[in-house]
């Protein structure tokens, strides 16, 4: 399984490598959580109401691990989704920075 790695190089790419270790740790954690939400949004759009009945039954009976496996089965391209969303996040951050920089130095 291909891993998406969030580490110092991620922060460097976003121009965030000059912060303290404490701040960088927190940023990575937040990036991870935001990425999870992004993936969740994409997954939700792919799932149908009627499909989720089985998922609901698994989670309500405490079988979260099985429920997660169910998701992998019904959204087989979740890894690609995660990679796309991370790329999107990075691109959007850079774009925002660029615009602020341009506006600030005019």
């Amino acid at each position: 399984m291909k891993q998406i790695v969030l580490d110092d190089s991620t922060l460097k790419e976003l121009g965030l490598d000059k912060f303290s270790e404490e701040d960088k740790d927190a940023m990575l954690k937040r990036i991870s959580q935001s990425l999870e939400l992004r993936v969740g949004i994409r997954m939700a759009r792919l799932l149908k109401e009627e499909q989720l009945k089985e998922f609901e039954e698994l989670t309500k009976s405490g079988k979260d691990a099985e429920a997660a496996e169910w998701l992998k089965q019904y959204v087989p391209n979740y890894q690609e989704i995660a990679t796309e969303e991370l790329d999107k996040l990075k691109a959007e951050v850079k774009e925002t920075s660029r615009k602020i920089l341009e506006k600030s130095f005019k």
Partner: protein, 641 residues
Amino acid sequence: MAETAPKPPSENQIQEDLNLAEGTGIDARVIEDKNGNTSRRMYGIDADSGHVRQLKGDDVLNAHGYSTDIEEELKKEQEAKNNKTIDVKTPGSDDGNDKKPKDSKKDNASSEVGVRPVKEGELTELVNDEGEYDGISGETLASMGHEPYTFDIENEGEKPKDSPGGGGNGGGPEDPSGGGPGEGGLGEGGPEDDPYKKIGEAVSGRIDELKEEGSSESDAHAEAHDEFWGRETGEDEPTVTTPEIPISPELEQAMAKLDDTRTEYARMRAGREGATFFSIKFSDKKVEAAKQAYEEAKAEAGSIAVDLLREHGLESSDMVSSINWGSLEEEFKLIDEQYDQEKEAVEGKRLKWFYDKWKKWSEDGFFSKGTLKKALVMAPVGVGVSIIAAPVLAGAGVAAAGGAGVGAVIAKSASRGMIGNRIRKNAGAAETTETKAEERKAQATALIDALEEHKETIAAELESSEELKAYGRGMDSDLGELQMTQTGDQKRQNDKDARRDMIIGAGSALLGYAIAEGVSGLWSGGDTPDVPGPPRPSNFDLNESLYKGITMEPGAAGKFENLIEYAQANGIGPDSAVANSFKKAAETLTDSQKDALGTALGRLSATPNYGNAWSIDHMNELARMASEGQSASDILSNLFK
């Protein structure tokens, strides 16, 4: 046990109530936990075993004959409020009128503490070994702040030496000299006035609760003590550092607008992207309009914040880092809002519930396992995200910053994590008066420096930015005037800013290109060697090479002035075709070949009437010669054959 914890007494109250006396006794230590919070713990040496052990509050209270019955204490408090006589119940006493003289209290004191008197320094010696005391190593405990707790735990009926009288707010534990507490205690303002709210059983119960919630033994003790005895630091809870740079009303207004536009854009995105059927309410046009408004608000808030930082002298590279952080936080906020909006918009109970479940999984760390002290793999859905980082703190800074807009985050990040607020002095600026040109030059230098630092993240976008190139061209005339006021020596000084200014100010077709290309071309050197990642970038610095070539020509300084005048008179700016051809031509060259080409170009630029007669063919020919390994001199020799 009472349902709520009563307010803990102050140290002075404890001193008073316990009739503390000078003498040996319990050793108090200030303990600092992993989060930097401090609390005081009391230790004594067990009379039987001779080992150190921590004393709980009720041990001490019981030893002095105080009740540790919470219900009884609360009742006393309530009665006091109702102006009723307070009975201070002590073990063995049924007499509710209680200003118990200390002697009788002492008579009823138990020896449940079971510790023997401690000689000064004895505890430190004892704990400084391999042992561990309630989760704290002996070595650590020995190094903690020592505050001898001066009260008598022996039933010896000793009277305190010092009797300040009336209340006994004597030295107390903070006074290492053991300055005497008074003869206070119940005799002077006893519990009926300052009801003793220390609840030994409640403390123990609270410790049990915390342990059930997952706290370790030592953390549970520390937290329970803090709750009942008060935190030593003077703060109730750890707080996020407030920004040192206050948010201006203008920024606040911009942030409010940003919030509104973000919400609207999130709603539109959710409606457009999340809908299963088209709705005119979320047409492309409307979504685009919402996006535009949001983007403008972001840029506005960000630039206002940047102005604030600039006023406070923030270094450019720090400013760029702040901007990047603010941009990141803004993305988090947008997605958070969009997530919630989509959840509201979807139809289907189970789908809505899925949104809730997924978010809860994320918040609970379901996708993460282990700690962040090692590589972390997201599971079980297997998004496959690993976080390789040092231990994570609560993310207090980022979380707090997330509560504000991009502008506030920028301001906050500057005060929290930035390197410093050194004001970068622009070489050559000292000789000039403050003019508009001065400001523009400073801005250009700051911009170039900042972008130089972050070339890997911004260069691609900026290179394609027509706006920035236009800005660069507009600067030429201002800088030209500035350069005219400088002496030749200043121009030639071996200073990066001066060189850049000269090149920017020249205004010739190629040199003016530097400001456009400069945002991505003024790179020199690589990153610090110990930073892992991509290979070190090229050491080629176009401006270095150009300058070198220019100054090789006799009287180059004078020629520069000519060039500036010529450029100003003719409105000459960078020729993008020539500039692009240089870039294209240089792509395949090595650093040394680029240097030869740049130097040759510099020399040519300093040649009267030559600097502005560039063509693409020129460039390609020069580049060809450079690619053959010819030096700058060779190139020029061959060119003028």
